[in-house]
Amino acid sequence: MIQVRDLFKRYPSGTVALDGVSLDVAAGEFVALIGSSGAGKSTFLRCLNGLVTPTAGHVSVDGREVTGASRSGLRGVRASVGFVFQQFNLLKRLSVLHNVLVGTLSRVDMWRSLLGRFPGGELDRARRTLGRVGLAGLDDRRADTLSGGQQQRVAIARALVQEPRVLLADEPMSSLDPASSRAVMELLQDINREDGLTVIASLHVLDLAVTYGRRIVGLRAGRVVHDGSSAGLTQAAAEAIFGGEPL
């Protein structure tokens, strides 16, 4: 489903975020991407849907080239990849329903979308998706009146309504309290199991990664330093990923 070869990213500031990352992810996997902050997790995920353009290397998702894709090619890739952000990145003043409808933009007619006239079928789909993430009935609430956990569910609904093949989540719970974190991770797990969506979630909390990720990939200083099943994650491996910091 996802192929990454020798990915390298140097920012204009000179920071090397990715230093030769290669990774294959099969359809239906749930990968927990772990590493301390600055290890390159966010950059890696953003290279997968072209939000960040790598300096060198190769990415393809679901058989489509991401690196070197044209503007419209990139839109096609992004349409099939849901992305969930650490800070939710909702439009705070818009209704919950409109935030979810943003996920349909690549499908709906451009002019209708600019006028905010979404087709009835998409409205139904958006409402169903809100029900799926446990937010039925909150359609008309302004996004910023919801709790953090609810806002992240809206963001997940926005990604799901895209009907993507892949769901990328960049530290989806690090702005949330422990209970909401678990709820969000369980939701991602359900989506992975029931819909067969390929999920890559970056996490900086090891126990969440071990609980929810069937496969754990450890990044450190822009390199893959661990790749294995969660069962096989040893103390030594964890120290290699986090550099012997207290966990």
């Binding site: 939000l51 890739v77 992004r78 990849v81 992305f83 943003v102 933009l105 690549s106 963001a155 895209q162």
Partner: protein
Amino acid sequence: MSSGRRWAGGLAIAAAFIWSAWSTEVSLGRLVEGIPFMLDFIGRMLPPDPRVLGQALRGALQTLQIAVAGTAVGAVLALPVAFAGARNTSPRWAFYWTRSALNAFRAIDTLVYALFFVAAVGLGPFPGVLAVVVYTATVLAKLYSEAIEAMDPGPVEAVEAVGATRLQVLRWGVVPQLLPQFLSFTLYRFETNIRAATVLGFVGAGGIGFYIQTHLRLMNYPAASTVLLVLVAMVMLVDFASSRLRARLV
């Protein structure tokens, strides 16, 4: 700050004040001597002359119209300039030149623009509208561009991430963040423009100011006070309505 520097700072401010007051012939004595004349002036303004009420209302209406037309056109002109003058939506050189030009234009007040446009297109409310347009466009462009710079890039990135086109990103990622602020700034500017437009008549650029100046010059103080009362009522009414509206936007 050391106490020595504080003393030096205080001394400098005091010196600047004394120098300025002396140069501008500030005199408490002359102010006190003037008090009877002020009271006499106010006395002669009373009671207001109701016969000029219709004229005052027409002037107020025209001032309102100048402010509405000038603010609307100025706001529209400010939009593209604001994006050119925002650090995050404009190349560095364009940002630099736009901001510098805006600062230069903004240094000149509406009344000075009015003098310029009266000379260019003749007397009447039209040069007044033009003056309000130019000043409003430059002020709003600055305020808008600051709002653009303060915009949260997160939601914009999120709309890009679903595979939206550039126009869709603008409509669903940018506009929802900026529109309420832009409307609020525009309304605030409208309130200020009403006040600026009240004196446009002094230079022949239309509105209620013409009547104020005429009656004062003819020493028809009761008529002048009627016009002033209408002006105060109009400004208060607009301020009230506009600030209520702005409170609902945020």
